[in-house]
């Protein structure tokens, strides 16, 4: 293994090299920062990072090196540089949620997911840009400027975890943490040609994830490959006594590297793959006609409407053909209430947000705008100057739907429909379907500034938001390109069945090979 090939290495490759003493954590951290510099991750370029501190990261790597020499086991992510969305609390680097109201705020405690990452040997190198408070689908709503898509700098990387998806796509880190409330990891992963996973609600502790809509929020993982995403999820999943909604369900081993995958050979650097940070080496064993034997893949008609772009439809059909050729059965199914997901989501999520964001009041931390005109004026100026337009819109929307007189008409009704949407998934998964396959997004990445109508922007999440409402796990995997831009396909499985989700995703990734990126 050579650090020259850093952008092509999977997390498992790095960790095994570091554990074997063939590479040092310091080398990996430097490679990550060098890559960020070379590709232009800075504020005036791709604008991927909000905060990073190379000196501190190298110091951390050095102390890990010392622990390695004392024969301590560092863990499954030993020496792996990881980027983290800026709404997950970290010690050392600020946690601003892409908002002016938290500019400069450094959390005095750390999220459970971060503590677990570190316990597994990961090195947090940066906090990534995001739509303010995770409200958006393009990372254009960041108070610190939009992130650009590494595949085409004219385009958005998707959102709200756009910085995390771009960091992985640009080859800066093999793994990044993001968060989802309605598709915010999978949609940017699709736009950036990388893998994005949203686990089952409750699979990963939310302690330290700044709340947007508590009943929907979940930390997710972006990876260069399915294996990277699996490794990342495995290292952060599991019960946490600090989050009562976290599940004590057993966490199986998801990563391919644990399934007896031979150590990958690093081939000659492919310049195109280098540029976008793809890793063509960490492929699973060649798929066969038995890889998915016995698996039933559901194809829901609501996610393949007549209006669906034909390029995306064709790429999905190709993926479905691959499933068949690997022994799976593809079955036409229906999730009849899914078309109601966007309106339901845009009632429930803002309602919860209006309550969750009340704590940003200028009293204890963050921005305070006080002109000496009293308490009410301080609240008003702090919040109206601290929050951007989309956050303000959603707080107003949420306050409205929760107010007396409208509560039954909006909130209660939306809650009831949410249950029906979840019922649809349950019915499908209890009828013998193991996994559902859909396009991740209705379009590939769009140009920065192209969508100004909020509702049109919301429609980006039309295929992803249902998994959040139902609480089921879902993953987006690259399935090809249209107009040179990446397209993602989505695999959804039943509650806590990430294992099957990863199995199907591995098979798809393996059977498409480089076709997934062409």
């Amino acid at each position: 293994m050579s650090v020259e090939n850093f952008t092509m290495l999977g997390a498992a490759d790095i960790a095994s090299a570091v554990r074997a003493g063939d590479a040092s954590p310091t080398e990996m951290v430097r490679a990550s920062f060098n890559r960020a510099r070379d590709i232009g991750a800075g504020h005036d370029e791709l604008n991927i990072f909000l905060h990073s501190d190379q000196e501190a990261s190298e110091h951390e790597a050095k102390s890990m090196q010392e622990r390695l020499q004392s024969a301590a086991d560092i863990g499954i992510l030993a020496g792996v540089p990881v980027a983290v969305k800026d709404n997950i609390a970290t010690l050392g680097l600020p946690t601003t949620c892409g908002s002016k109201i938290l500019a400069g705020y450094v959390s005095p405690y750390e999220a459970t997911a971060i503590t677990r990452l570190r316990a597994n040997g990961a090195l947090v190198v940066a906090k990534t840009n995001m739509d303010e408070f995770a409200m958006g689908s393009s990372t254009e709503n960041s108070a610190f400027g939009p992130t650009r898509n590494p595949h085409d700098v004219r385009c958005v990387p998707g959102g709200s975890s756009g910085g995390s998806a771009a960091a992985v796509a640009a080859g800066i880190t093999p793994i990044a943490l993001g968060s989802e409330t309605g598709g915010s990891v999978r949609q940017p992963a699709a736009f950036c040609g990388v893998v994005g996973v949203k686990p089952t609600y409750g699979r990963v502790s939310r302690y330290g994830l700044v709340a947007f809509a508590s009943s929907l929020d979940q930390i997710g993982v972006v990876g260069r490959t399915v294996d990277d995403a699996a490794l990342g999820l495995e290292s952060i999943a599991g019960f946490d006594k600090m989050d009562s909604t976290s599940s004590d369900a057993e966490v199986p081993v998801y990563r391919l590297s644990a399934l007896g995958k031979p150590a990958p050979e690093v081939g000659a650097p492919d310049t195109e793959a280098m540029r976008i940070g793809r890793n063509p080496v960490a492929l699973p064993p060649p798929p066969s006609a038995k890889t998915l034997e016995g698996i039933v893949i559901g194809k829901p008609r609501e996610y393949f409407p007549d209006t669906l772009d034909t390029n995306i439809k064709d790429l999905c059909e190709r993926a479905l053909d691959r499933f068949r050729s690997m022994g799976a059965t593809v079955r036409d199914i229906s999730l009849p209430r899914s078309p109601l997901a966007i309106p339901v989501y845009y009632i429930l999520a803002p309602a919860e947000a209006s309550s969750n964001l009340a704590r940003f009041d200028g009293v204890r931390y963050g921005l305070r705008v006080d002109s000496g005109k009293g308490l009410k004026a301080m609240y008003e100026s702090t919040r109206s100057q601290g929050f951007g337009p989309e956050v303000t819109r959603r707080i107003l929307l949420g306050t409205y739907v929760l107010s007396a007189g409208y509560y039954d008409a909006y909130y209660k009704k939306a809650q009831a429909v949410r249950t029906l949407i979840a019922d649809d998934f349950r019915a499908v998964f209890t009828s013998g379907v193991n996994a559902i396959f859909t396009p991740t997004t209705p379009t590939p990445a769009f140009p920065v500034g192209a969508i100004s109508d909020p509702y049109e922007m919301y429609l980006n999440d039309i295929f992803t938001v249902t998994a959040n409402l139902a609480g089921v796990p879902a993953i987006s995997v690259p399935i090809g390109r249209m107009r040179r831009l990446p397209v993602g396909g989505q695999v959804i499985t039943a509650h806590f069945d990430e294992y099957t989700m990863f199995r199907v995703a591995y098979a798809l990734e393996a059977s498409l090979g480089q076709e997934a990126h062409q």
């Binding site: 609390a89 909604t245 919860e352 309550s355």
Partner: protein, 303 residues
Amino acid sequence: MSRERYEMVVGLEMHVQLKTRTKAFCGCSTDFGAPPNVNTCPTCLALPGALPVLNERAVELGTRAALGLGCTINPTSVFARKNYFYPDLPKGYQISQFDQPLASGGSVLIGRTEKGADIKIGITRLHMEEDAGKSIHDRYPGATAIDLNRAGVPLIEIVSEPDIRSSADAGAYLRTLKQILQYLDVSDVSMEEGSLRVDANISVWPPGQTKLGTKTEVKYMNSFSAVERALEAELERQCALIDSVEQKREATTTVIFPSPIFGRCCWNRSGSTTHTRIFPSSRMREKRVSLRSSESHRAKWNS
């Protein structure tokens, strides 16, 4: 004189701090008298990303209190959020119970009439909630200091029926209630340390009538005798008002009773109802608390 023609109709709300070692939703100590803001953590400071975890002991003590007052324990109770802005309310909402309280329907026997009949005061409901912090207005000139040691301390609120007809009955009810809670060992019931607070709702009517006058809420009284004095004063005031003008239908007014502990303040914590929204919980966590051999109570909350 209307003083003789009217009697008071009073309902009391008693807020009682439960005798737990730690707060309702975090592991911070509930010790009284610690230096300001020492008993705090990310959760009760409402730092970004922190989450509440329900203290099971608080539910147990609340349940014990409810059983001691003859209440029915509801099979499921739900915590919701009461949203309003105030500097000593760190999250911007108070976690409390509304539609589905811990318990309802009970009574307290406070004495007997001359003819030997029981005088009982009904209990409407008993619910759980968390306390807010403390705003200190008189310490620093021109500034308010906030102490969040109390923020998140577990309370029960015991709401009586409007069965009380005299200040003496009110005093008897409060003293009996205090005794019961003391005996059940669920609270220190100390007004000095703030573990017991009383709010009163009072209106007046001619005896035998069923149409209530406008209700007044009297808050922040620091002793039982202060409650009795406040009720007498309020009866006087309302009667005088009826004498002088035709009483109009109007919304509840809040009167802050002067008190050496809380001082006379000029703010209304809850604001008007238009600014107070109740946010229920959608995907809630459940905690089962077993009561007797076959019964259990499920408390649900949002995190």
